[in-house]
Every structure is written in C-alpha cells, then in structure tokens.
Assembly symmetry: C2
DNA sequence: GAAACCGTATTATATGAGTAATACAGTTTG
DNA sequence: CAAACTGTATTACTCATATAATACGGTTTC
C-alpha cells in the first residue's frame, strides 16, 4: 500500500495537482513501483482531511495519463513500464530544473552562486 | 520606466502573483531601482492583455508591502531602501532554493546530481 | 484652462477549485 | 450469502481569480 507519510498539503497550487506531483515523484524515486496499491478515495481523503472528490480528481487524471488503473469495486493500482518511467523522469526533472534556473537567472545570479546556495541549504 | 519585456504570463499561478514576483526579482537583480516609474494600470493591462483590475490588484499588494507608492493622478513609483532590498533578497532566494531542494530530495536525487543537472541545463 | 492622462472605486459576470451530501453498482472479506 | 468495503456519478454550494463596463477626482501636458 502506497504511503502518504512524507506528504503535507501546501498553499499556492491546487490540492489535486500536489497529490499527482507527489505520486509522480515517488515513482521517479522508486518509492512507488509497478503494481503498488493506492489508498482508496475515501481513506486518503480522510487521511489528508480533504474532500473525496479532490482525490477522485487526482486519481482520474493519473488514470488518464496511464499511470494507474481502476477496476470499479477493487482498489486502484499503479501500472508502470520502463518507457513510462523514463518519460516521467525526464518530464519532472527537466521542468523543475528549468524553473529554478529561470528564476535564478532573473534575479541576476550566476551559476556558481546558485550552486553554492544549494550546497549551503542542502544540510 | 520599468520594462516588462522579459515577462510572459504562464499558467499555474494567479497573474497578479506572477506580476508581483517578476517585479520583486527585477528589484533583486537591480534591473529596477529606487524611484523607477511603473507603467500605468491601463498601459500595462493593454501590454499584457489582461484586465486593468488584475494589474491594480498586483500594484495594490506591492503598495501594502511598501515596495511602491501611488499618488492618485500621477504614476506609481518604486520606493526602496537597503533594508527592504536585503529582506526581499533573502525571502525570494531562500524560498526558491528550498523549493528546488525539497523537490529534488523527494525524487531521490543526491546533491551532486542536482548540481550536475543545473550545470547541464544552464547553457 | 482643456484634453489626456493618472489612481481609485463600484457592480456584475464567468470560471475553476474545493467542499458537501448522496446514490448506485461491483469486489472483498468474514 | 451478507456486510463492508471499493470506484463512479450527480447536484448544489462557497470562494478566489479574472474579466467587463463604468464612474469620479487628481495630475500632466499642451
């Protein structure tokens, strides 16, 4: 069963997107693997303190993307092959890295300053 | 007059917040300095293709934060001292860096991998 | 001084996000 | 088999974001 221990809802972006992003990052990290069971909509909504519809929206979009399968009655589970995993990895990492680079460039920082900041805050 | 040449509206976060962030980053970068004039609400709304009220909301919040001053009739302009600049710099950089670090950690990357990715994509 | 700007304010509307309360059919589990 | 779960669907409501169309008074500028 997939765990949501390291997950907390934050402001600034829709909850269903935060859930999707969390799951995708866990997939990339290898914390979530092919065949893993997801918590049911009701259980996860109670766990996170949000509405079941919000979970349903996240799961629905994950299913549209082919990352999970739902069987109407049984629990949903993760479906992964190596191509999907590679695509996910490229998508998320590139998008994250490009975002931070564009933000840092706009603030006038040089590559070396960014790297030293990352070293400083990584702990 | 402050330029919005390097600015394009993106999805994912409210437009008025994107405008605020852009101005703050220009202040940190030194592109915007004390006394600079802002484009009028109407002019900027036409330039960006958004509603004047959206610009007004961004400017209003910047004024609440003490970063700009408005004189009812005349154009708004930027008001900066060294303390404010230092505060802004710390706020934005820390927040950006911490975001990327938390995202990278969640995807299971090590510090060295992140640094090498940044070097790769910086061009 | 008048026209053309400026900031400010108001009211109305549309959309998306999130909540809330149900309902129904399929699957597990005892 | 029956109870307790599942996924799925529907309708209604609140709130924030963004748009739209004005209006009023102050400042520049010619």
């Amino acid at each position: 069963m997939i765990s949501f221990d390291g997950f907390t809802i934050e402001d600034g972006s829709p909850i269903y997107l935060q859930i999707i992003l969390y799951i995708k990052r866990c997939i990339i990290a290898g914390t979530i693997v092919d065949g893993d069971e997801l918590p049911s909509r009701r259980v996860l909504s109670a766990l996170l303190g949000v509405n079941p519809n919000t979970i349903q929206k996240a799961y629905r979009l994950l299913e549209d993307e082919g990352l999970i399968q739902s069987h109407s009655g049984a629990k949903s589970c993760v479906v992964l092959d190596s191509r999907t995993l590679q695509r996910l990895r490229a998508e998320l990492l590139e998008s994250d890295i490009k975002n931070i680079i564009s933000a840092m460039k706009q603030t006038g920082l040089e590559k070396e300053e960014v790297i030293s900041l990352i070293k400083k805050y990584w702990e």
